[in-house]
Symmetry: C2
Subunit: 303 residues, 2 copies
């Protein structure tokens, strides 16, 4: 079933829902996952961890919710104010709000919490201060939220990331970033994708967005793994990002020698990878590449 004609996005969504990969929840970009999707996500995640092959990594998982102060300190809220979900709740000691939803919403106040737009932000403040000589190497699995409501299955509001994060001195991080970019490409090949790696930029907000994007596209700090999802040929399913001192400075992270540390990460979008696999190999998990053994041995993956 490989490399059939592209599926239109609407029909990809329909197919994913018909075969219980996706369970609609009534709001755009948020889906429950049925058995084939649960199996596929677990298999893809494990295949990437195995292929990444850095067994000394610190293994972590982070929830969908994170500290508002940390995300603000990272500069994310200033650069991407349109993507962040802010969490409000009834303040402690509040009286009973009127029963209707609008009165309730008006009685709420900002909490200490926001939704994580990427999995790795909570990792940096854990390393404030001096790193060990080898630096830090962290695997993060997390749930993310970006407020980009869409009916396209490749543009989810709520999604999962698997990230690998390096925090170290400049030479260590640069070398890791270059290897990571190549490993990202090889993982695409291993998943049987027709994929390319290209320089890219983040979706900045506001009048300076074009300039900021163009600068980033030229400075070699962001590369994406692009492949076919539904009818689009160039969907980013992973990205390698060099932050230089952008985050380490904000969180006061230094090398063992007392120099300013640097950081980089490689992030995989797990749902998009599954949708790319469905597009390029079909919905029967038994037809997927051999590296996805967990899915294959679990049988058909049908619910």
């Amino acid at each position: 079933m490989e490399n059939e004609a592209p599926i239109a996005d609407a029909s990809l969504r329909e197919q994913l829902c018909d075969e219980s990969f996706l369970l609609p929840t009534g709001v755009p970009g948020v889906f429950g996952y049925g058995r084939p999707m649960v199996l596929a996500l677990a298999a893809v995640r494990q295949a990437i961890v195995d292929a990444w092959g850095e067994p000394t990594m610190t293994v972590t998982e982070f929830p969908a919710v994170m500290s508002r102060a940390t995300l603000t300190q990272a500069g994310y809220v200033a650069s991407f104010p349109h993507l962040v979900g802010s969490i409000r709740a009834l303040p402690a000691g509040a009286g009973e709000p009127e029963a209707d939803g609008e009165a309730w919403e008006k009685a709420l106040a900002a909490t200490d919490y926001v939704l994580a737009p990427a999995s790795c932000y909570p990792v940096y403040p854990l390393h404030s201060g001096k790193l060990p000589a080898a630096g830090a190497l962290v695997q993060v699995t997390g749930n993310c939220f970006r407020h980009e409501p869409s009916e396209d299955p490749d543009r989810l509001v709520s999604f999962r990331q698997l990230e690998f994060v390096r925090i170290a001195d400049r030479d260590q991080t640069t070398s890791w970033f270059e290897q990571g970019r190549e490993k990202m490409r090889q993982i695409g090949v291993g998943l049987g994708f027709q994929a390319t790696v290209d320089s890219a930029s983040d979706p900045f907000f506001g009048p300076a967005r074009r300039i900021l994007s163009a600068m980033q596209k030229n400075d070699g700090s962001k590369f994406e793994l692009l492949t076919r999802v539904g009818k689009r040929d160039d969907v980013a399913v992973a990205s390698a990002n060099s932050h230089l001192t952008h985050l380490t400075r904000k969180f006061g992270i230094h090398t063992a020698d007392g120099e300013e540390a640097t950081s980089a990460c490689v992030a995989f979008g797990l749902e998009r990878l599954v949708f790319a696999l469905v597009t390029q190999h079909g919905t029967d998990l038994r037809d997927w590449p051999a590296g996805l053994g967990a899915a294959n041995t679990a049988g058909t993956g049908r619910p």
Copy 2:
């Protein structure tokens, strides 16, 4: 290491952080999880799925974010307005907000999304209309949020649930609920807990809360599995809930015969179960009961 003297809650938290079960994020009730916690959560979850033993279940996972309309329709926002996290974001087409966080927060508007306070709410609208003759039987894993900020590790703001949900005619649901309550108790025994099952009530809000709680405690609609976590002897680590027609009526769910359907669920709090295991069996996963094989075979569980 079983059944040692209780650990005070502060020292339980300290121990969980020292041994990388929990990674602080700077805000109360939200933690990252290190390798031992990742392994323990997966092992506990799998042990419960295996012990539950209903292989015909529809397997699902739901994210932390859900439809505001669904949670309102379920009556949750009216009954527990103090627990719900409402998600705000910049409205489409908004201009650039001022750079500081307060101006940004003021520019936000309510979205279609809230945080799920329990995993099973998105399941009911999926069954609106007529059920098959056997009814529905759904396994749900999900991420939940309840705005109860606390430094106690047994009172998380962000946590995971594994739920089993039955939607069927009254006899089918009643029989399943009674068996489920007993299976919940047996699962506690299987995890090596000194545990009791007791009737319980939900944390209602407002002036009528005492009456509502007392009514629920007497009507046999909610039972909790209580065990020791830290220094507290009676922490609820699971609950069995009979909803009768409370949810099926709101979501228009009928039996194959056209009667009003009923529903029930049994929900396990995965983090609390791990903390109960740590309290009662220690932090070395090799000392945990044999049913937790996945954790045991994965070695020490230390990062």
